[in-house]
């Protein structure tokens, strides 16, 4: 894992003890190792993006966090106490939006509230009603007739109405169209900012993370391969290319002040030799520090950065 300096906006939060901590967590299903020493901390008030490819272990990690399944090894603690110590009380402080909405189709939002409020001592019915109105969700219509987007909004309404200290979102926008997704993300951002709750947002979509996350963890093959803010990650990875006619095997874009770098990717693309490098903490070299002639800086999107990191692992 590469550690980078954190975004100044979350440095203050990190001085507090983490709301959520996974430490060397392992989980296997039969011979398939899904989590292989996953570690991460999430601090109060931050929106934490949990990024990974499909099958990387994100949903398993969340099921562990919710206490639905048990870890084979490692420690999980929420709100400073081990998960197993008082699962019910811990869950009462969590708002959870699952990937698939399995709410009772025969219920209406009104009936659903009557059912769910019994489980949460902090249930805020006013807020529930308000959110339903904000989201323009009908009170008396059966949930079975709702669209996927409406169900996701209802799930978010449920999650927020218990005034959670931690909001866990497990790919909640899966299956939504781009407009609905953006609307949903704005709502998440707005509501969590208002409440000051911590948000743990799992997704495989980079733009979602870019839109709302303060800090991210990239998980690949059950391990954390990056944990930190977005900008330092973007800054730490650079790509250069040179025409194949000028490339000699072994060539590098230049000589950098400090050689603590890692080649993430190199290869031929469209007649040019492309090299992607990742620099260690505090060793960033400005673009104009390329020493060798003919080498050209290649701009990288966050998606390119993510692919470079994930592909390398």
């Amino acid at each position: 894992m590469i550690g980078l300096s954190d975004n100044p906006s979350v440095v203050q939060s990190q001085s507090a003890s983490p709301v959520l901590r996974l430490n060397e967590v392992q989980k296997s299903f039969g011979t398939l190792k899904v989590l292989d020493g996953l570690s991460l901390d999430v601090y109060p008030g931050e929106v934490f993006g949990f990024l990974g490819r499909n099958g990387a272990g994100k949903s398993t990690a969340i099921r562990l966090l919710m206490g639905i399944t048990q870890a084979d090894a490692g420690q999980i603690s929420l709100f400073g106490q081990p998960l197993k110590s008082d699962l019910i009380r811990i869950r009462q402080k969590i708002g959870y939006v699952a990937q698939d909405q399995n709410m009772y189709p025969w219920m209406t939002p009104t009936v659903l509230s009557k059912f769910v409020r019994g489980f949460y001592p902090t249930w805020d019915e006013k807020r529930y009603q308000q959110l339903l109105a904000d989201f323009q969700l009908p009170l008396k219509r059966r949930i079975g007739t709702f669209s996927g987007g409406m169900k996701a909004k209802l799930a978010l309404t449920l999650a927020l109405s218990s005034r959670p200290q931690l909001l866990i979102l497990d790919e909640p926008t899966a299956g939504m169209d781009p407009v609905a997704r953006r609307e949903f993300l704005d709502l998440v951002r707005e509501q969590t900012m208002n409440d000051g709750a911590t948000t743990f947002f799992s997704t495989h979509l980079i733009d979602e993370i870019e839109a709302i996350a303060d800090r991210i963890a990239i998980v690949e093959s059950g391990k954390t391969v990056y944990d930190g803010a977005l900008d330092p990650l973007r800054e730490s990875i650079k790509s250069w290319s040179v025409p194949m006619s000028h490339f000699t095997p072994g060539d590098m874009p230049g000589e950098f002040v400090n050689r603590s770098l890692k080649i993430l990717k190199q290869g031929e693309r469209q007649g040019r030799w492309v090299v992607t490098l990742q620099f260690e903490q505090n060793t960033l070299i400005p673009n104009d520090r390329v020493l060798n002639e003919q080498w050209q800086h290649e701009p990288m999107s966050l998606e390119d950065v993510f692919i470079a990191v994930v592909a390398n692992n």
């Binding site: 299903f29 189709p105 409020r117 019994g118 489980f119 949460y120």
Partner: protein, 642 residues
């Protein structure tokens, strides 16, 4: 609080179906009460509780389980509940208790209604009521536990119910198991459930409770295996691969069962009357009903015992099945009821028998004895003709002197069969067709003539060798046993014993048999057979009634059959009956018959039948003359009623 919220949710979700179910159950209870009051055979109104436990409550349990558990687990809503702040087992425990409470409530209501009604004529004490209620609740617990466990198995549950039904059916109907003595069947025993007032059936209660615990525990454990992953997999629709896997498992299970497991032998029934003459070795019992028939029973006992002892020695049989013969004076003299599932049991009327009739009866008994030696297999295999021919040969000449009159009647029958259908000479390949077409007496005569020829041409030893080869060894009822019995083939085994090809043997035998038609005694029988062929038609008349009609036409013959119908004293008869799906041999009784003079100018028979469209029936035209002991089947055919 969480429990209340969950219960409230279930009540809100299911209250309407529960109301309908309760009303439906109450309606059925009231119907049962009314029906029970009018039933002459009922001893107590509380019998309806047992009836409801047997037939109604399992269905109610299925409905409750389907709504309460299957719906939740197949739709995936359990995943929503799973993420709520509550104990992991709480939702399922509540559903388990709620379902059982509902079933118990319904049953207790029924017991209350029944007890109130029964108290009019019977003393219903508190102890008695508690006993009935306890037994009912324990039985219900088992039902609910099974439904609970299977409901968690998603789409696989249908298969599990079917397997369970098969197991219950096997236990109830397997003759070697007295199901009434083992839980849970012992708990709802027909006699004891209602009429036992004092003794608590602890064995049945504990046994049934243990079964309920096993199923309940299995259900709860299933939800925890692989942290619910098994349950999740089961809640998804079965894929084609699953169906194939289940089918393969079923076929494999059935194959293993049929290959490996042999049926258990069943103890034969015993006559309990004092009017029985017995012989111990071989075990023969004859029920003669009244002292005036004892002499005839003794005579038959001696005849049969001697014959069986000689048969056992001749074929080297290790043991013989027990033989029970019951006198039924109201039967026709050739009408016999014949069962071979536990020894040989024959119900017959021998009081007016002559020697030929005795031979018919003895042949049937020997047929049963030797068929039992092969576990009944000889009747289904290509050596069936050996069984039929040898048994008749044995009673006619195997152990006694051959009666020439018997011989003439048998030859005449055999010749008539071959004359009517030359293909009947194919003893190995067409035996069942011949037996169906000409009926057992004529087919038996044909097979007897073949045995007679073998004795005269090849010697008695070859007759015994054939019988010993095919009729003295039990054939297992497994697939392996069948394969062993069929390899080498029956025809190859016959050819080996005869030291001759089957075709050559059949040719020689038919030539020899044909020559018998010139025997004056045989001729006298042949001249008593009308030279007739028959036709049958089936139609719906103008009143919408199904009718069977039949007519006769003269036919050419190589035999000296009678063409002058006016000179014949016998009668032509149309007989008919249903064909069931498992009928193998068609023995038509006299229950449905129409008799008329044999004539060729007009339709001889036209009868209203009871068949409707889609039925299958066998219709036969027979000639019953004075000289022949049994009818000659002129024509027979199977009809699909349109």
């Amino acid at each position: 609080m969480a429990a209340i919220a969950l219960l409230a949710k279930d009540v809100r979700e299911h209250w309407l179906p529960v109301v309908f179910l309760t009303l439906g159950c109450l309606a059925v209870f009231l119907l049962l009460l009314v029906q029970n009051k009018q039933a002459a055979y009922s001893m107590s109104t509380l019998e309806i509780v047992r009836y409801a436990l047997l037939y109604l409550m399992p269905v109610v349990a299925l409905i409750v389980g389907n709504r309460l558990i299957v719906g939740e687990y197949l739709s995936g809503t359990r995943l929503f509940v799973e993420a709520l702040p509550l104990g992991q087992n709480l939702p399922l425990v509540l559903k388990y208790l709620l379902g059982y409470a509902l079933l118990s409530g319904l049953t207790l209501a029924l017991i209350f209604l029944a007890a109130k009604s029964a108290s009019v004529a019977d003393e219903i004490t508190l102890n008695y009521l508690v006993l009935i209620s306890s037994k009912s609740l324990v039985m219900l617990w088992l039902y609910w536990s099974i439904v609970f466990c299977f409901s968690l198995c998603g789409y696989l549950r249908v298969l599990l119910y079917l397997v369970l039904l098969l197991i219950v059916g096997a236990l109830l109907f397997f003759p070697g198991i007295d199901a009434d003595r083992i839980p849970p069947f012992a708990l709802i025993d027909q006699q004891l459930f209602v009429f036992e007032r004092d003794v608590i059936p602890w064995f049945a209660i504990i046994g049934t409770s243990l079964l309920a615990i096993v199923f309940s525990a299995a259900g709860f454990i299933l939800t925890r295996i692989g942290e619910g992953s098994v349950l999740e997999r089961l809640s998804k629709p079965m894929t084609r691969r699953d169906f194939v896997a289940v089918s393969v498992l079923l076929v494999a299970g059935f194959s293993v069962w049929s290959t490996v497991v042999e049926n258990t032998e069943v103890a034969p029934i015993q006559f309990s009357s004092e009017s029985v003459v017995r012989n111990n070795d071989p075990e023969v019992s004859i029920l003669y009903l009244s002292d005036i028939h004892k002499q005839s029973a003794d005579k038959m006992l001696r005849r049969l015992s001697n014959s069986l002892v000689a048969l056992q020695a001749s074929l080297g049989l290790q043991s013989l099945p027990s033989i029970k013969i019951a006198l039924t004076p109201d039967r026709e003299k050739h009408d016999m009821e014949y069962m071979t599932s536990a020894g040989v049991f024959i119900s017959s009327n021998w009081l007016e028998h002559d020697s030929y009739d005795d031979a018919i009866l003895d042949s049937v008994i020997m047929h049963g004895v030797l068929s039992a030696q092969t576990n009944g297999r000889a009747m289904l295999e290509p050596y069936h003709w050996v069984l039929d021919g040898f048994t008749r040969w044995w009673v006619e000449q195997g152990n006694v002197e051959l009666d020439l009159q018997h011989q003439a009647e048998l030859f005449a029958r055999a010749l008539w069969v071959l004359d009517t259908d030359p293909e009947a000479q194919q003893l190995v390949s067409r035996w069942q067709i011949t037996a169906d077409k000409f009926s057992y007496p004529s087919a038996e005569a044909l097979a007897w003539s073949a045995m007679n020829y073998i004795e005269l041409t090849y010697g008695r030893d070859i007759v015994f060798a054939l019988a010993s080869e095919f009729l003295s060894k039990p054939v297992g009822n497994t697939l392996l046993a069948t394969l062993r019995d069929r390899s080498p083939s029956a025809q190859a085994r016959m050819e080996k014993i005869l030291s001759k090809g089957m075709d050559e043997f059949l040719l020689e035998w038919v030539d020899w048999l044909s020559a018998q038609k010139n025997d004056p005694m045989v001729l006298s029988y042949l001249r008593q057979i009308p030279a007739l062929a028959g036709q049958v038609s089936s139609e719906i008349d103008e009143n919408g009634v199904h009718r069977l009609s039949a007519s006769y036409t003269p036919r050419d013959s190589n035999l000296d059959l009678n063409t002058d119908l006016s000179a014949m004293s016998g009668q032509c008869t149309l007989k008919h009956d249903y064909i069931g799906p498992f009928d193998m041999e068609f023995e038509l009784s006299d229950d449905y018959e129409d008799t008329s003079f044999c004539q060729v100018l007009l339709p001889a028979h036209s009868v209203e039948s009871f068949y409707s469209s889609g039925d299958r029936a066998i219709v036969a035209l027979e000639y019953e003359g004075e000289l022949f002991h049994q009818p000659l089947r002129i024509h027979s055919e199977r009809l699909d009623i349109q």
